[in-house]
Amino acid sequence: MHFPTRSVLSGVLTAALLAAGTAACTYRNAPAPATGQASTAGRTGDGADLADGSGTKVALVPGGAHPYFQPWKTAGAAAKKTYGLGDVTFDETAEWDQQKQNNLLSTLAARGYNAFGVFGVSPTDINTTFADLKSQGFPVASLGSCPAGDTDEADFCLSTDVELAAYKAAKAAIEAMGGKGTLVHLTGNNVDANTQLRIKGVARAVKESGGKVKLLQTVTDIDTDLQTAQKAVSDLMAAKGGQITGIVATAYNPAVAAADAVKSSGSKAKVIAIDDDAKILSGIRQGTVTATVVQNPTGQAEIGTWALALLQTKQCTMRDPGVKVDSGSFVVTKANVADYDKARQEKTKQLKTEFADKYLSCG
């Protein structure tokens, strides 16, 4: 084949045109950046009772449809009733695409929603979205997941500390394994900042065992749906089932799949799951799942909505804008499977007090 001179020429021409386009314009001065919340200390405690939330319309926006977020819907509706808010909507149409989520948020703003609780699709991009919303004067909470890195452009982040939850799960697994053996970690999308944190959490627990526990494999990218997870887990059990003495699953679908696989294959591996799906809870009752680490999505939505309403009505400001608050994670075993929800409700109450006393400045 000859060297395609004309092809190359037209390509170079297009590229040059495009590059020139970025430099060819003159800009007016950029608009002033987002107004920072003054962190003046004011009266707290009693001031955190919402006076009038009828003008507040809160939108709770997860990254897409996922069973984890279902409690947001009921908790949001309950918060609307309790605090007399104008409206609370739950919109899961972002379809796990950051661009679609950004569009959805601006559409919701156009529909009159004026406070946002968001689970960002991409933890590395979501700060940009938060900054956009803040610059338009809306209070924003990062719920269920914090932005990657050290900065948080939202007013606050109320989320499970994913690294800590993964660490707790791995610790529980190691304990169930008798402090030694071979562990497998099943998790979600590898190119996601939260997955990287989970991997770090599990690695920390394994390292603390002083070499007695070996991390055989970290299987990623199997949280897309239950079928993918089931296939990956059954392949894993077929290939290395004999060696595995512990499985820690830090994502929803792999957890359900691992519980199923261990039950059907009769493996002796100890399974530590995540979340409180009915299958996992019944596994705990029957003994096929050793423990599960449950999170607190209800608390995230309830406290998030309440705090957003206080910020939207200007009744309160954040003392330390961008603060990261752990919404709690709890290890559930056969011993406490019946009443773990009480501990979770306690944590939610405690979160409310913490917000009123520590994080919010009202008056």
Binding site: S10, L18, Y27, R28, T93, A109, A110, T124, G149
Partner: protein, 354 residues
Amino acid sequence: MTTSVSPPETVPEEKAAAHRMPFWVNQRLGLLVLVIALSILFGVLRPAFLDQRLVLFPLLRDVATLTVVALAQMVALSVGHMNLAVGRMAAFGAMFAGLGYDKLHLPMQAGLLLCLAAGAAIGAVTGWLIARTGVSSFVVTLAMDFALLGLVSLMYSALTEDAAFTTRPAGIDALRSYSLADICAGPICGSPAVPQLAQFTVLAMLGLGFLYGGTRIGRELLLTGANPAAAELSGIPTGRRVLLAHTLSGLLAALAGFMAAAGTGTFRASIGDDFMLPSFLGAVLGGTLLTGGVVSVLGTLLGTALVGVIRKGLDLLGVGLESLNIYLGCILLLALSADRIRTVVSYRKVVRST
């Protein structure tokens, strides 16, 4: 602007028929009317639809990016091929831009050039493989999609902590958030609804419009798509035209990847994940033939805009996830049927009148 071309030497009958057809049969005009009618309908149902800052600006930014994605597919379709790796090529190109900004501290324009070069290179490799081996573009681009999926994930895992390049060069934030209202000629400023990111789309459309409408190479690309054997016999170097089409497709995909990254904030592996369906949708709705030989640059923009307007309108109406895609599918089906009905009715009129 001339954007749609049917090579006169290949389809003379069609061209003659087109002369006799009434003007309202034109597919692009139909799309334009539909886009405007739907915008008015949504605007009446929800006046917020016409909010320039909160609705039209993000809508147009989305349409601008997806139009470039659809153009990338259109170029491959023009030679009768398809590019199933369009999303991964976008991720591949964007990765190089991110790498340039993060590790080499390049200025924005240099990073963009690196991104385009990477996209063009991977497109050229794909085109070369297809031309050289004669294997179907479906198979080659599918294989390329898998190869790039692995490669891009691997590179991000190896080079970054959070699976994304988060360094932002000077100017990229402006590119994301500035509209024409920020560009002024004296006291007159542009509309706040039109994003500056759209400049890339306009340039790409002008470039492709000129290529297909005004150059011999463009006509040769279309002829290669319409009938490769006839093209080969007419002395057209079809192998090189296939190579060119895929190179351009890769370049445009990479440009779309850059635009998506600039639009959301960082350069990450998941860029382009959802590009494949919109790429076909925009191009085919706009009148580009899946079998090759006929393209429509303006139609691609209108096809993409139609999908964007419907989605935005349904979002504003507060349609839930369960119903959103059903409505979207139904409206698109109606749009395509309306087009077909228009053609049939006009054909009957023409037959009756002759």
